[in-house]
């Protein structure tokens, strides 16, 4: 399959290793990855902060770049959630029925990485990762994309791994995009409880399907010198015995 990677501006700029891992993983499973370099940002920050008029050109741009892709895959539940649930609203705001139609045609072919793997019928991706990990189901993977236990099934199939359950896993980490800055105190109060849950697991690595939430959790773990690191699901799944 020809997979058009939507890397997301966040991963492209701040967490390139997540993109590299996603490429390695998808290629290892026998697919071809293409990277359309005109891509920039899906508009999530603008839409969620209320700057929705400003998101219109970004939505148009995304559709223009990816409209003829066989499948678009992104290692980000929140960006895919935005494309799926809000692109239609933005087209309506722009009063552009042609755009709305193009969005509706493209949407079913835009998948989050776990969704793509599930669609391909893969559970064991041939990964090896001999570490104690815990999985944080991000709000967008859990309640917007409804990934359910698909990410955990992928993790359990990894050789050498020890997966420990995260207490109160379904509680939000407190990131919420610009919420973490606008309501920094409330965000920190939520994060504090998430950190306690993470540390109670005695895990070495926290895994999730959104780098943004991992930046929130990981940023605080690092500040605490907690000895726990964060990794995107793609990074764990990309690990093999020959390539670590």
């Amino acid at each position: 399959m020809q997979v058009a990677l939507f890397i997301t501006c966040f991963n492209d700029t701040l967490f390139p290793q997540v993109g590299m891992a996603t490429v390695r993983l998808i290629e290892r499973l026998g697919h071809t990855v293409q990277f359309r370099s005109a891509q920039t940002c899906c508009g999530q920050m603008h839409v969620n902060t209320g700057y929705q008029r400003e998101a219109v050109p970004l939505v148009r741009r995304f559709v223009q770049i990816f409209h003829d892709a066989e499948v678009v895959v992104a290692p980000s539940a929140s960006c895919i959630g935005l494309i799926r649930d809000y692109y239609g609203h933005i087209a309506a705001l722009a009063d552009d029925t042609a755009l709305a139609r193009e969005i509706a045609i493209l949407q079913p072919r835009v998948l989050e990485l776990t969704e793509f793997l599930t669609r391909m019928g893969v559970t064991d991706v041939g990964a090896y990762f001999p570490h104690r990990v815990t999985y944080h189901p991000t709000c967008h993977s859990l309640r917007v994309l409804r990934l359910g236990d698909a990410p955990l099934r992928l993790l359990h199939a990894v050789r050498g791994i020890e997966v420990v359950a995260l207490p109160d896993a379904e509680q939000c980490c407190g990131f919420g995009g610009t919420f973490a800055v606008k309501n920094a105190d409330t965000s920190m109060a939520m994060l504090g409880d998430k950190l306690r849950a993470v540390r109670d697991t005695r895990a070495e690595v926290v895994v999730a399907a959104d780098t943004s939430c991992l930046m929130q959790i990981g940023g605080a773990l690092q500040r605490q010198r907690a000895g726990v690191r964060t990794m995107h699901l793609a990074e764990v799944l990309a690990h093999t015995e020959d390539r670590q």
Binding site: V23, S37, G50, E54, F179, D185, M215, Q222, R223
Partner: protein, 479 residues
């Protein structure tokens, strides 16, 4: 004139109110314990319902249908109530409703009224309006009474005193009810309230209630409660006045079946609430002999006009969204500065009063979506929150002039929209980030950021922007 009455403080600023609430350890413990307990109870009684999702869908559909034909159903309700011997009054806003109720109480020569717990009368600040006319309103719901005695505002739509524990309530009763010594056992506290209230039930001639549901076809009004004090108010006095929002209608008696299953399980986590009172007009020789229904708009028709926002009017005030909300659990209800706190308040309040009067409330959420999952009538709260944020920004841009355009956030968002507008500007910005971060980076880490971004580094480190972006790596690999 917008219905400002919904607000407890003018222009509530959630982000400014929250830090004090977050620092109150007693509040944090009370709220955490209460919300976690009620969440678990709700989850248990919802899990045992095999058709819960179908019930939710039915609840949403009945509300959608009713609101679509609201004009018809309101007139049906009016005719049915009048047929049954009741009187119907129409109130466009809080001031009109308060004037109607005050006039009715005065016409009956009463100086005191007893009240069934009612958010709608809180919304219009009825007690204060009555007090101005020399009429004292006595709250009979235990938690409302606690709030009234403490001179505070409710912090939860179902459990107004959720922010207080029983030790605090014991002290309050000893101070305000003239009780010498009392234990902090719930039964003792309830008994103290009962002896105070029983005398009122038997002597006060006028009662005021809200209504959970109003059946258009028959004119029946329904109040759902736990204590039985509401039932006392609805049956003992000579006169009953019910103030009901126009969105509380259901078309037929049979529709109640759906909501009477959804509401108690979602709100108190009970299979069925202890007292469900339903009455139709006046019955000679039984119960109040005069019944007045005050139908309140107070901004609701504005909500109805908004295609995305109108689902907010489906709300049956169960409070499941408050109990599940990670923000509400930590800040409590007062930080929202509105009669309606929590996720539902964050979308309802700005719509009722106008977004320009409650700009911070749609942002009082991490958009985690837990509220949507538990809502018994499937209100997509995150969707409405995002829509309201758009309204806040658009209203500000359209009326704020140059000053609004020059605010740091607005400038940053405009700039980023330009940056993301082309590959060239985007890649240039990436290079600038790699180069410009220099002074902030120490050992590959950023631990301090200026201005608006300082909230981030208060608790979290930030990894430095890597010197190779993904696209640079891809190009090298491709070459």
């Amino acid at each position: 004139m917008k219905p400002q009455s919904v607000l407890i403080e003018l222009q509530p600023k959630f982000e400014r109110n929250a830090p004090a609430a977050l620092a109150n350890t007693q509040l944090r413990r009370n709220m955490g314990k209460a919300t976690q307990t009620i969440r678990a109870k709700r989850a248990a009684v919802v899990d045992e319902m095999p058709d819960w999702e179908q019930l939710r869908t039915a609840g949403r559909q009945i509300k959608e249908h009713t609101l679509y034909h609201l004009d018809t159903y309101l007139l049906q309700l009016e005719a049915a109530v009048q047929r049954a011997g009741g009187h119907v009054h129409w109130a466009a806003d809080a001031a009109a409703a308060n004037a109607i109720v005050t006039g009715l109480v005065q016409a009956h020569g009463a100086r005191e009224v007893i009240k069934v717990k009612s958010l709608t009368t809180d919304e219009i600040k009825l007690n204060a309006a009555l007090a101005e006319a020399g009429i004292s309103a006595i709250e009979t719901d235990l938690a409302e009474l606690i709030i009234q005695l403490a001179g505070e505002h409710s912090s939860h739509i179902l459990v107004p005193a959720i922010h207080k524990n029983r030790a605090e309530i014991r002290e309050l009763f000893m101070r305000t009810l003239g009780i010498a010594e009392i234990s902090d056992e719930p039964t003792a506290l309830a008994a103290a309230a009962r002896s105070y209230l029983r005398a009122k039930f038997l002597s006060v001639p006028v009662a005021i209630s809200g209504g959970n549901f109003a059946v258009a076809a028959t004119g029946a009004i329904c109040v759902v409660e736990s204590e039985g004090n509401g039932r006392m108010c609805l049956t003992l006095p000579e006169v009953l006045i019910s103030v009901v929002g126009i969105e509380k209608l259901v078309p037929t008696w049979q529709d109640l079946e759906v909501f009477l299953q959804l509401l108690p399980r979602s709100s108190t986590g009970e299979r069925m609430n202890p007292y469900t009172s339903i009455w139709t007009g006046v019955t000679p020789g039984d119960g109040p002999q005069a019944f007045h229904l005050v139908l309140l708009d107070n901004g609701r028709t504005n909500v109805l006009a908004d295609e995305i926002g109108r689902q907010t009017l489906h709300c049956i005030r169960c409070s499941a969204c408050l109990n599940i909300c990670p923000v509400y659990e930590r800040t409590g209800g007062h930080a929202y500065g509105s009669v309606y706190p929590g996720p539902i308040g964050a979308i309802l309040t700005p719509q009722l009063v106008g977004v320009e009067h409650a700009r911070s409330l749609p942002y009082a959420s991490s958009l985690c979506g837990a509220c949507y999952d538990v809502c018994p009538v499937q209100i997509n709260i995150p969707e409405v929150l995002i829509h309201m944020r758009g309204e806040v920004v658009r209203q500000h841009q359209d009326t704020g002039g140059l000053a609004a355009a020059l605010e740091p956030e607005a400038l940053a968002m405009q700039l980023l929209s330009q940056v993301f507008g082309s590959q060239a500007t985007y890649e240039m910005a990436q290079r600038l980030a790699q180069l410009g971060q220099g002074p902030l980076v120490r050992d590959g880490t950023i631990s301090w950021l200026p201005g608006l971004l300082g909230g981030w580094t208060a608790m979290r480190d930030l990894s430095a922007v890597p010197q190779q972006t993904f696209r640079q790596w891809w190009r090298e690999r491709d070459a």
